[in-house]
Structures are given as C-alpha cells and as structure tokens.
Symmetry: C2
Subunit: 393 residues, 2 copies
Amino acid sequence: MAISVEEALRLIREDAVPLGNEAVSLEHLAGRVLAEDLSADRPFPPYDRIMMDGVALNADAFEAGQRIFPVQEFQPAGMSPVTLQSPGHCIEIATGASLPLGCNAVVMYEQLNIKDGAAHILCDDIRHGQHIHPQASDRKQGDIIAPRGFICGAAEVGAAATVGKSTVTVVRQPRIVFVTTGDELVDVDITPAPHQIRKSNAYALGALFGFPTSVSHLPDNRGKLSQFFETASTDFDVIVLCGAVSKGKRDFVPEVLSELGATQVFHGVHQRPGKPMWFGRLGDTRIFGLPGNPVSTFLCGLRYLHAWIGKAQGIPPFVQTARLTEAVTFEPALTYFLQVKLQDGKAIPVPGRGSGDHANLVDADGFLELPADRNHFTIGERFPVHPYRRQSL
Amino acid sequence: MAISVEEALRLIREDAVPLGNEAVSLEHLAGRVLAEDLSADRPFPPYDRIMMDGVALNADAFEAGQRIFPVQEFQPAGMSPVTLQSPGHCIEIATGASLPLGCNAVVMYEQLNIKDGAAHILCDDIRHGQHIHPQASDRKQGDIIAPRGFICGAAEVGAAATVGKSTVTVVRQPRIVFVTTGDELVDVDITPAPHQIRKSNAYALGALFGFPTSVSHLPDNRGKLSQFFETASTDFDVIVLCGAVSKGKRDFVPEVLSELGATQVFHGVHQRPGKPMWFGRLGDTRIFGLPGNPVSTFLCGLRYLHAWIGKAQGIPPFVQTARLTEAVTFEPALTYFLQVKLQDGKAIPVPGRGSGDHANLVDADGFLELPADRNHFTIGERFPVHPYRRQSL
C-alpha cells in the first residue's frame, strides 16, 4: 500500500491549491508571494535626476570654451526645477534634485572651485548628460517591476514603497496547527518521569516554517481525536499530527479519520525515516499524519509539508543538490534521507546515532535524498539535498 | 581620506561589541544566537526506547527455539515499564514506550501474528537489542547539545523543548532605527509632485534584517537632525541614516555629528556604489551614514551594517563565492560591487541601468565584490558574493 517518494510528492503537489489572497503592509511583505503585479506608477526615475553634488550647466557653453560660470542660485533636492537664465550661468544642485531646465550636464564639486559666486571648472571635458540619471531610464510608467508570483525580498519591499504601495496583495499563507500526540509526552516546563519525554515536535515544525502557526496536544484517545478534528477542520487549512499514524494499538489517527469520512490520499511511503506517513483530506482541510519520531516528523515536514505550502503559494519547486564526500551503502529498497553536514556544496554524512532525537538534527544541516532504486552511492555523486539551517544572519 | 573596503570592514568589526543577553521563548528562538549552552538535562533517549510497534520479548528464549510467546499484557507509551513475568512471555508495546524489564528485543507486528492471546513469531532471527534505541545512546546527561554562540534553527528549537527550556538566553539583537533624509521625499501613500519621490530606503533596509526595527524621517534641517540624534542615541543601539552624508550643500550629517561630539571612524570608502559612507559613534550609539541612492544604501546595509550586527551577535563572518559568467572591466581604482543574478553558484552580471532605483535591485539577486586592485575580471573567476534573496520558502 505504501507508495514511492516521487508519487507521494506528486499527489501532494496535485492536492495543493491556492488559498486566496490577502493584503499585507510593507513591514510584512518580505517572504510573501505577490498576488498582483508590482508596476511603476510613474517613470523610474520620475525626472532627470541629479546623481552628484555640484553644479548643473549647459555643456555647449563649456564646449565653446567657457570655464567660469556665475552661479545663478542653489536648487536643493525636493524643489521644482528652476530655469537656467542664460547658457553662460550654472546652478548649484544637490544629489536627488531634478535637473534645472536649460541644463544638460552636471560637474561635481571635486572638479570645480567656487570663487566670488562663480564656478571655475577644472576638468578638461564634460560629457552631455553626465551625472544625470535620465527620466524613465530604469522603467517606463506602467512597466511591471515584479510580476505576480514573485517571492518578495527586501528589494521588492523598497520597490513597493517607491511605487506607492503601502499595502500589497499577496497569496494567503495557510493556517496550520501542529499537534503532538502520545501519552508519554509532558509539557516543556515539566520534569518528566523516567518513562516520559517532553513535547518538542510541534515547536520544531513551527520554527521550520517561520510564520504564525498554532501548537496543540492530544492524548492517545479516540474520542478526543475525533472531537479535535471536527473543531480544527473549521479553524485551519492544514492539520499536522506528530505521531499515532503507524501500526500501534493506540495509533488511532487513520481509523478516526476514516470514521469521520476523511479521504486518504496515501498511507505509507517507501522511505526512511518516515515510512508510516499518512496524507489526506477532511472536507477542505489537509491532514498530514507524520510519524512521531522527531527525526521522522522533521524530515516529513521539510520534504512534504514544505512542498504542499510551496505549491499552494504558487512557488516553483526549488531543489538544491550536494555532492557526497564518502561512499554510502543502504540496502533496503527505500528512498534514504541521509543526515548530512553541508559545506561548500558538499554533503558530509553524519554518523547515525539511530532513529534519534532532536539532538541528531542539531548535528546535521540537512537531508540528502538517496533514491530507492539503488543501494550504493559513490563519492562525488550529486543528489538532491534539503537543508534546514541558514549559515549566517 | 577615503579608506579601502577591507579597512572599513576591519574597523566596523573592531567596533562591534556584544550587546548583552535576553531571554526568549521557544516560539522566538529560531534565528537567535545562544548565550548559554544547551545541555542534556537527562540522557538522550532518557530510557531504552521502543522504536517499533509490536512485542517486546527475551531474545534468549527465541534462540532456545521458542516461537510462540503468550502476551502478558499491553504496555502503551507513557506508562512505567512493566516486568516480564517469565522469559517465555512477551509484552505488546507501542513506539515511544520504555522497554519492559526482562525484555531485550522488539519484534514488529509485520513479523508476527497474534492468535489466541499469543504472538507467533514469523521471522528467522532476532538480534539482541533490535528496534530498541538504548538509553543515553544519543547524548549522556550533561552533554552539550548546542554550545553558546550557535545560531538556532528549527532543530535547536526542538532540542531546547526536549531538554525543558521553555525560555532560552540568547544574545540581544540591536535596537536599530532606519532614518530617511531628504526634502525630495514624501510618504509612501502620497502622490508625489513631479520633482518628488517616495521614501523607500528605510523599508528596504528594515526588510533586509528581518527583526523589529524602527523607521523614521528627517528633513534636510540642521536643527532637526541635531535634536533627533540627541533623543535617538538614548533609544537605539544603531542609527542608520539614508542620505545627507556626501558633499552636497545640505548634507549636514557629518557636520552636525561633529558638533555633537561624535567620533568619526571613517568617512568615504573606495567603492562603487556607496563611496561617501560615514561611520562613527555618538556616545554608545553607532551611526551608519549611508549614501541616499537606493542601490548605495542597500549595498552598504548588506555589506557593512550586516557585518556589524553579525559581529555584535558573535557570528563568524560567512562569505559565499560565485563564478563570473562573463568578463567584466571596471577601470576606477575602487572595489566594484557588481549587481548579479545568482544561479547554481554562477554570477550573471545584470546590465547596468545607471545608479538606480529599487527596480534595479529587483532585477538582481546580489552583489559580486570585485577587488579594487584590478580592472579586468575574467570568465569563471570566483569572487565573494553578497546575496539578498532567498530562492525558496
């Protein structure tokens, strides 16, 4: 009944649909996907913009031999452009100002002296248009700066401000709840009994996605599970369960979902870790049933939930690759997600410590995806890699 | 008076000092730098943990020939381990449970049938310890999981939860205010006059750093600047000014700072863009005076403010590199920050549109840093690169 990783991803991507749009302010735009084109409301730059502090003049007069230009006046940035009275004058200007009418070049202060109210030009030639950023040379009015579907970063935030968008329409992010299950789990601030452990999966998954999510917990109890699904499916787009999806006597999740009329898309993926993964729908709510082992939960979140969210936001899949630094053998006919350190595009296998805790994840930077149809993987071979760590600010 | 990029970075790193610590909750831990060691408060795993659903038994009995094991009872996860009454019995167990006393192996449901209250084992051999994750095999009590100075990601959030840290001590982030200057600037939601443009630099820089920052604006007015510095230097660790640091008649920043007794560390860097950059201190407050052109402001923020924040957080410099896809010539004796698209470790120069707007930044992914002591840069050469865009979620 289990399916391949490729098939699981295909089904997940097929399932993921856009969640509609919402408006966000500039402060919250970074990381969001545009649901509208970001267009130039006016030319870029909107006027012939001065790029250097100095004087603006008419280069024809300079070419005709004039070297001393009386300063007509100072035109700061933010003032309507003044008009040059005669080609023999010049106008002191500031970076960012609009080119005075009648001028066609700028000479920077480094290339002139101002004495007795006149600019003495020291350079040997002046190019027409020098130090002027011509109107519309970057973008014409109406040009698309960033099209819908673009992932906004800091540059797009700046561009949005420039074109007067104090709020921007973006693709809505899914409302997700991460739910830990298991009677062996206690709260983080509790000292566990010897046979208990603390809840950690939901926090790790929440941090993996970096946008507001909810965290909840359920005991291994059929009634509580059922009740939770009915409420949560109206509040959330996605319910992510950590645990209770395997073959254990109290792994009630698949059974309870079936009773509630949920559609099972798949149960079981030919992979390690994370083999018992369940995926389906309850009404419009998507349900990811992830195996409860911390490394399994984490891998399934990184590989599958990530793919679903990406597709629902309209982001094309982006898969990095890395080269193995040593040979690896893995006998089972499963896709093997190998924990690796990442360095300059190289994937260094992390000695396995078993199907471990979050401490194992701390030791690595990502998972290298070794395909199911082979058992031996040689030094220098390149495979897809799924990193979960940034190496700088 | 201008200095090299290398010298500017050296002075900025030398200046950056730790800002003290603060406690954050698990939900806000990702992206922060640990100011305490994250240690195992108990062994990892804390008990011999069952890794498969099935039965726990004594492998010696199996080796002696026994294949049918009466089920003594079911021990779910979260229960104190029960004791095997005799080596001939077995105990049904769930993943995550503590190994029952007297058992030394687990057989998964896939390799047995349960009939009339007894487990009929179907496999040919059972390894001592199979499907048991031994106590302390990942970490011993007191082991450091992640040392102080570590940048926390989702894995560390999970690890912190596991060891019972609902709040964690991390390095404090700087309180930063980004200030636009220039009388040509109007608010984002205003329709500018032909000679005006909207404020955008402060939003772009704020988005670049991704943690709470403030945004402010100042007119080109000596008194207002002076007044602002006196107030802001008590509220902020870092003041970042966009504009008013060059040689223009209203570039009052260096002068006003000097009057207030500020220490100038440097003014001017041999680079394009961003040559007029100013850096110094007013009391304990650091002041970055960045040239106001959007591309200059952005580059200086990405290269210098980023370096200061990184050092103040104790993060070692991390510089990626990329290979040029075409030859580039740049004659001035300046470090040239070339705008590039990034693809698979390759840097594709973006045709310059002049010293542009944020629209130019949208067209590229980062800046390639071409050193000042050369003018010609050949295809395939590798240089440091400063990306400002993520390519996936």
